[in-house]
């Protein structure tokens, strides 16, 4: 036996069955707090990095968060489109440096199809204003050519040269497809950690071509072959949204106002950062409720620790009195119980942290596969250390109460019943 620490450990170990339930609840609280914090951080980072360098997102009038979600994150659908003429008018505005048109609505094996043009490869930025990079092949040039996001290519084992058939509408199990006009994969983008990884990119003319022979959202009886469609006018009639870069950031608000007053049709423009802030404000309420619940779980766990150590105190009066009679002063008895609570909390929070690491590495793969959100367990960042330190401190404080009660036990208590 070496010192107080080992004495505390052996004493706690001898009551491991009652203490293990308390430790389990502390571990669970630690797990929830760490996982929640990591998810919150990673989701925010993921969203913030998904679009950078874009000054405005333009779309049909809706809420700013809805526009941001469907245009950048492919979540939800647009209620209306933007006429191509309106898109061109905006592109020709003297304040505008570049425009990336985006047309959505179709899918491939559950992955969204994004119809756009060459400016997407030239101007789209993500992360710290990083440009898109082709890992294999080249950008699309022909009508029926597609460039895959890294996740799509990896999951579906696709390479340049292979043919793919798009489906009409979104979702993994679309009933109607465009099998009469297959696309050829010509390139695969390098991984970006954004929704681009989970998208199939085609030209606007390709999107127009596969819908030429469609009427009211259904294929017409007489269909056009791919070759026939290629010979026709493939100028798009509308697009879903525009990502706009301005020549000067200073013009962003005047341009936003100008879009909202656009005469030809009702449009709106949002600043990606502002829309994200609105989104976080919205999500923040749910986050706070969730955090509050987890903090309550932690508080209940620590109260259980106090209750267990306090209840054990009655049974341990004799043990503590023996230690006192052998020379352990009240300070040492206080330290013993404090150490015991600290050991239980430390062991439980370490177990909770390990469980969080395991859950995030397994769950992270699922999130990445289904939502394109990269969640990675970064071994204890500052925030995680803060949470662990908070739990440990709360555990120490919780143990102080039974420690104080034990401190006040007289050496006579437990050894000698009153005559």
């Amino acid at each position: 036996m070496r010192g107080l620490g080992q004495l505390a450990w052996r004493s706690a170990w001898s009551r491991r069955y009652s203490l293990s339930w308390v430790a389990l609840s502390i571990a669970l609280a630690t797990f929830l707090l760490l996982t929640l914090e990591q998810l919150r951080q990673d989701v925010r980072t993921h969203f913030a990095q998904s679009v950078s360098g874009t000054d405005l997102i333009v779309g049909a009038r809706t809420s700013s968060t809805a526009l941001l979600l469907y245009s950048v994150f492919r979540i939800g659908n647009a209620t209306h489109n933007i006429r191509w003429s309106s898109a061109q008018a905006l592109a020709n505005d003297p304040a505008v440096a570049w425009v990336i048109p985006i047309s959505l609505g179709d899918s491939f094996m559950g992955y969204p199809v994004v119809a756009t043009n060459a400016s997407f490869f030239e101007h789209f930025r993500h992360g710290e204003r990083q440009a898109l990079r082709l890992a294999q092949g080249r950008a699309f040039g022909g009508v029926f050519e597609a460039v895959l996001g890294a996740e799509v290519a990896q999951r579906l084992q696709l390479k340049p040269g292979q043919a793919i058939e798009l489906s009409h509408g979104s979702g993994a199990f679309s009933a109607i497809d465009h099998s009469d006009k297959p696309f050829t994969v010509v390139g695969v983008l390098a991984r970006t950690g954004t929704p681009v990884d989970r998208s199939v990119h085609i030209g606007l003319d390709g999107m127009q071509a596969i819908h030429l022979d469609w009427v009211a959202g259904m294929p017409a009886r007489q269909t056009l072959s791919a070759e026939q469609a290629s010979q026709m006018d493939l100028t798009p009639k509308s697009v879903t949204a525009l990502l706009v870069g301005l020549k000067s950031r200073a013009a962003v608000f005047s341009m936003q106002r100008s879009v909202s007053q656009f005469a030809a049709e009702p449009l709106m423009a949002v600043l990606p950062g502002v829309a994200l802030d609105e989104l976080w404000t919205l999500v923040g309420v749910a986050e706070q409720v969730l955090e509050l619940m987890v903090i309550l779980v932690a508080a209940v766990s620590l109260l259980a620790l106090v209750a267990t150590i306090s209840a054990g105190l009655e049974q341990r009066r004799r043990e503590l009195a023996v230690l006192r009679s052998l020379g352990a002063g009240p300070g040492r008895i206080f330290a013993l119980l404090l150490l015991e609570g600290t050991l239980v909390t430390a062991a439980a929070s370490a177990a909770g942290a390990l469980a969080a690491a395991l859950a995030l590495s397994v769950g992270g793969q699922w999130l990445s596969a289904h939502y394109g959100i990269t969640v990675a367990w970064q071994w204890l960042g500052a925030q995680q250390w803060l949470i662990l330190a908070g739990i440990l401190l709360a555990g120490i404080l919780a143990s102080a109460w039974p420690g104080w009660r034990a401190y006040r036990l007289s050496v006579v208590d437990g050894l000698q019943p009153r005559a």
Binding site: M1, E319, G327, V411, V412, L415, Q416, A419
Partner: protein, 229 residues
Amino acid sequence: MSAALTLHISQLRFRWPGQGHDVLELTNMALPAGDRLLVRGDSGCGKSTLLSLAAGVQLPSAGEVSLLGQAWQALSARQREQRRADHVGYVFQQFNLLPYLSVLDNVMLPCRLSARRAQRSGHPKQAAQHLLAALDLAPRLWSRPASQLSVGQQQRVAAARALIGQPELVIADEPTSALDERRRDAFMQLLIEQCQQAGSALLFVTHDERLQAYFEHTLHMPGVAENQA
């Protein structure tokens, strides 16, 4: 009062707080270094209270109890605890071994809590092993939890814990009450032999008259009715 006395009690009166009468009165009692004193008396006559006073766990209501020439009343609670740890070995009636510690760790416990006892033992682990062997406890039992031992074995471990570090005073509170005659005699011989080797004075409480032969001095305490009369 001679410095050669391990324990000296004079004009002692003790009553529990809130009680209207003394439960213990003792005019004079002296235990020289290395000697053995048997305290006899019926149940409830205050034998255990006398031991608490001798060990400085309780303080007298009047009079003085001194250990090695130092009155317990003159010391603070912390100083009393340290002095008790340094100079007194205690064999409790119910042994009071810590069930989650091994036999060896139980015996070494006083050395962990008193630097003086650790120093006097030389090497605590070797001293503990030596004592356990001398008290006839087989080495295969030394690493077992104390709770797995028989009553007789636990008693010998408790004696080894009291003797380690050669305290000047060993106090034993009816440690033989649960033993049959053969085991009781064997234990007494071992205890006295080890006390002599350590040079410790022994203050031994019992209501068993047959143990008187092992002691140089005897103190007979009056019964409760006698005491209150």
